[in-house]
């Protein structure tokens, strides 16, 4: 009995120290990019010109959709924009842009200066719609497939790596 207690105590401490050691190299910053393989939520976002709404039905039509949250006041959005422009040339991919907490004039200027990669353009004036998608910062992008499953999440500006990954996915059919 004594031996068992001793071995248990020893084991517990070894385990704790082990976990501490392993954790030293882990990233403490929280990231939602592994919240994937879920359904795209039901949504209804006003289009940018306020003429109609976009819903899940608009995404069902396409093989792949990239939903990109952006704003004119966001510096990293400018940095990722060229990648979006390149992606907009892919036939297999539809890009839905959601203008986040922005002013119409500034947003229009942004697009006219840097180009408009969006097949569909919507706006989320108060940011509430983005919460449905689990967005917590700008820019963020979500790659969705025809079955309305979220395949990938990109937190932060799209990198060249991200671009390559997206190409690999949408051209894998």
């Amino acid at each position: 009995m004594q031996k068992i207690i001793k071995i248990t105590i020893l084991f517990i401490f070894l385990f704790v120290i082990g976990i501490f050691y392993v954790s030293l190299t882990r990233d403490t910053n929280y990231n939602t990019s592994n919240l994937i393989n879920k359904d795209v939520p039901e949504f209804q976002i006003t289009s940018f010109d306020e003429s109609n709404f976009f819903t899940r039905d608009d995404i069902k039509k396409n093989n792949y959709t990239l939903i990109n949250f952006w704003a004119s006041w966001c510096a990293p959005c400018k940095i990722e924009h060229p990648i979006l422009m390149k992606l907009s040339q892919k036939k297999n991919l539809m890009i839905l842009g959601i203008n986040f907490k922005d002013k119409e004039l500034q947003a229009k200027t942004f697009l006219s200066e840097l180009g408009n990669p969006y097949d569909l353009l919507a706006k989320d004036k108060n940011g509430k719609q983005s919460v449905k998608f689990g967005i917590y910062g700008i820019p963020e992008s979500i790659l969705v497939n025809k079955e309305l499953i979220i395949i990938q999440k990109f937190v932060g500006p799209l990198s060249v790596n991200d671009y390559n990954n997206i190409i690999k996915i949408i051209e894998s059919l």
Binding site: Y30, T32, L35, N126, K128, S130, V131, Y136
Partner: protein, 119 residues
């Protein structure tokens, strides 16, 4: 021994006696949600853009009649378990919730068994 049992029953019973409020206080919910872009602050304490958006969404959810638990579920579904300060009652967290009371009870038995020997 009896004392032990009493304590255990009392604590067990108390788990169910947290008052179920009819009107949900949004501040209570804000306090229990974590600001994802801050260093450990709650939505209630944070002035960040993200916090303000979440406050709006929480208000909407309350107006829709969602319960407190449903609101936390909603948030953790969208953002992961990290956003709620109260760990969920699932298998992964079972040890967390249960171990302290297991210790309390076993500790009590342990001590009283020591004492009993010498009665």
């Amino acid at each position: 021994m009896k004392l032990n049992l009493l304590i255990f029953i009392f604590i067990f019973f108390s788990k169910f006696s947290f008052a179920k409020e009819n009107i949900i206080d949004p501040n209570l919910i804000h306090k229990n949600l974590r600001c994802l872009v801050c260093q450990g602050q709650s939505i209630s304490d944070s002035n960040s853009d993200f916090a303000q958006t979440i406050k709006l969404v929480v208000k909407d959810l309350i107006d829709e009649g969602k319960t407190e638990e449903e609101i936390y579920s909603f948030m953790s579904d969208k953002y992961g378990d990290w956003i709620v300060f109260k760990p969920q009652f699932n298998i992964q967290n079972s040890l967390l919730w249960v171990l302290p009371y297991i210790f309390l009870i076993f500790g009590g038995f342990f001590i009283f068994s020591f004492l009993k020997k010498r009665q």
